[in-house]
Amino acid sequence: MITSSAPPADEHDHLRRKFLVETYRMMLLIRYFEEQVRSLSQGGLVPGLVHLCAGQEATNAGTCMHLRKDDYIASHHRGHGHCLAKGARPHLLMAEILGRQTGYCGGRSGSMHIFDRENGNLGTNGIVGGGIPLAAGAALSAKARGTEQIAVAYFGDGALNQGLVPECMNMAAIWSLPVVFVCENNGFGEFTATEDVTAGQSLLSRGQVYDIPSVEVDGMDVLAVSAAFVEARDRARRGGGPSFLLCNTYRFGGHHAGDRQDYKSEEDARLWRDRDPIPKLAMHLKAAEIASPAVLQDIEASVEEEIQAAVQFAKASPAPESLDLRVQLHG
């Protein structure tokens, strides 16, 4: 088990500091974004269910932000954070979540099926585990085309029990594909605790049996996630094949925005809340004199403003026209 918080070796110190501030900004952006989605959902403005990722910002930002724009990700139902950290524009994302014509997919796909081609996002996915082969296939394609792009497959601990995980890990290993498997282990699949439905001493062994370099990471510590991810990314980029990251994290909210969470222990929830990755990073930034309290306050204010603007944009956006119903049935 590696839980190093050492800075990525290949980043210059100044750049690293700047990057850490950007990471903080991104994590805050995701948190504020999700808060707004929650309140819009409670106000009845969001069609369908939304699955919020508040609490998991360190695994979102600590991985996605280390990718090139043309690298690929395939995300899942709890994927807003991945979209944002990979470069999605908050107002277009918000508009899609509200089902508006201006959204990433013209309002037809909503929270669970967001595609962003420009940023290499192969979609959040409504099928648990469904995105895993898409990312592995993108890695196969990148390798065949010789582009040095890599791909990241995100999935939850629930998806770890889908056959797609071992299948794709096996193929990624035998073909040495540039893909990183990132499991965001938040302890629950919907309302069922991981330990009730998952056998085996170690979840990490799921990667190890294929001789895939596998690391368990504190998913509430963005520095730890970053360090492990950068190592995996670099290995993939230089042709070293796949990696598996098991990031232990927690979703502060329920399974979806309306979930009352009776199945969670209050004590556990409090302990995890105390480990909130955002104040944790803020403390580090201050202690290491990377950012002053005033700078952090400015960031908060500007993120708040950006998210408010996104909400206004989305609310003011028109609904799709009936003419759009059949468009793009075929590509």
Binding site: C105, F115, A136
Partner: protein
């Protein structure tokens, strides 16, 4: 006249794959036993030697994951041709086919497309039993976003493959194993292309239209010769593509012959035969002198026994009998009480 040569159905497909792989570096093959082994039915023979392991990829026996990877590759600039060894195993790739591949263009509002071909084998006649002999194309036809082709001749096999590989959408092609050895003229290069969504009149006739799917076209053509000896001339229409279905060509034929029989080797219940028959009703009802009839596979699993298996799918004799029945027996019942 386009230049043609005689080829088997099998080698027509291999030629199509090879030509498209030479044309476009993005085209590659994935499947079980298709590489070094050359395919369990020799249906990829020679391709591994020409194109190597990177472009003729032997996958592990992991249909869902491997097919899903083909979808991901298609979304990111490649044109995979994925082989499902037996059509029965379509069930294993259903999630990635139905919920991912078929919907990506729509869900992403055109940001991504999935230019991908699924090839698979099907049909009775090999004594392979209930889990290796089904003709499950109707399942795929139920899914918006897919295209489905069922070639019945070497020329169509080649031409449809070439079009499918160039199409921006997921296309499934079902090959009847009993056709692999069938010989026929096949055009070379670009002249061999057959557009998706275009039916063809395989044989002209005046008395009745038989719309036949896949290998059933071959049975229908033989039946036509026998019927011709009795002075009955049937027209045989081959849809070639089931999705999209060329209803107009089929209906045009029925408007001339005024009677229709649909022959389908797939299951009758909720099947392709029902869809074609009802399309005829909607497009040519006023021209019909008799109800549109279906002759489909029996609604049972395909037994392995050499005496039982041949009873499952329609054949030449059953087509002959059904045509005769339809021509003499099945007229509209006389309505005695037309008045209110």
């Amino acid at each position: 006249m386009a230049e043609t040569s005689i080829s088997t159905y099998r080698s027509a497909i291999i030629d199509a794959l090879a030509e498209e792989m030479r044309n476009d570096a993005g085209v590659f093959l994935m499947g079980e036993d298709i590489g070094k082994a050359g395919g369990v039915f020799k249906q990829t023979e020679g391709l591994f030697i020409e194109f190597g392991a990177e472009r003729v990829i032997d996958t592990p026996i992991s249909e869902p994951g491997a097919f899903g990877m083909a979808v991901g590759a298609a979304m990111t600039g490649m044109r995979p041709v994925f082989e499902v060894m037996f059509g029965d195993f379509m069930t294993l790739i259903m999630d990635q086919l139905v919920n991912q591949a078929a919907k990506v263009a729509y869900m992403s509002n055109g940001q991504f497309t999935v230019p991908l071909v699924v090839r698979t084998t099907m049909g009775t006649g090999s004594s392979l039993g209930p889990q290796h002999s089904q003709s499950l194309y109707a399942w795929a036809c139920h899914v918006p976003g897919l295209k489905v082709a069922v070639p019945s001749t070497p020329a169509d096999a080649k031409g449809l493959y070439k079009s499918a590989i160039r199409d921006a959408n997921p296309v499934l092609i079902f090959e009847d194993r009993m056709l692999y050895g069938l010989k026929g003229p096949v055009a070379v290069g670009e002249t061999s292309l057959v557009p998706l969504g275009q039916a063809v009149v395989a044989r002209g006739g005046r008395d009745l239209t038989v719309v036949a799917v896949g290998r059933m076209v071959q049975h229908a053509l033989k039946a036509a010769e026998r019927l011709s000896e009795d002075g009955i001339e049937i027209e045989v229409v081959d849809p070639r593509t089931l999705l999209p279905l060329d209803v107009e060509t089929i209906a045009c034929s029925v408007r001339r012959t005024n009677r229709a029989l649909v022959v389908d080797g797939g299951a009758q219940q909720y099947g392709a035969g029902a869809e074609i028959a009802q399309s005829i009703n909607e497009a040519a009802f006023d021209w019909l002198d008799a109800p549109v009839m279906r002759l489909c596979a029996e609604n049972i699993p395909v037994p392995i026994s050499r005496t039982l298996e041949p009873l499952v799918q329609p054949d030449e004799s059953r087509i002959v009998a059904k045509v005769k029945e339809l021509l003499v027996g099945h007229r509209w019942p006389d309505r005695e009480d037309d008045s209110p």
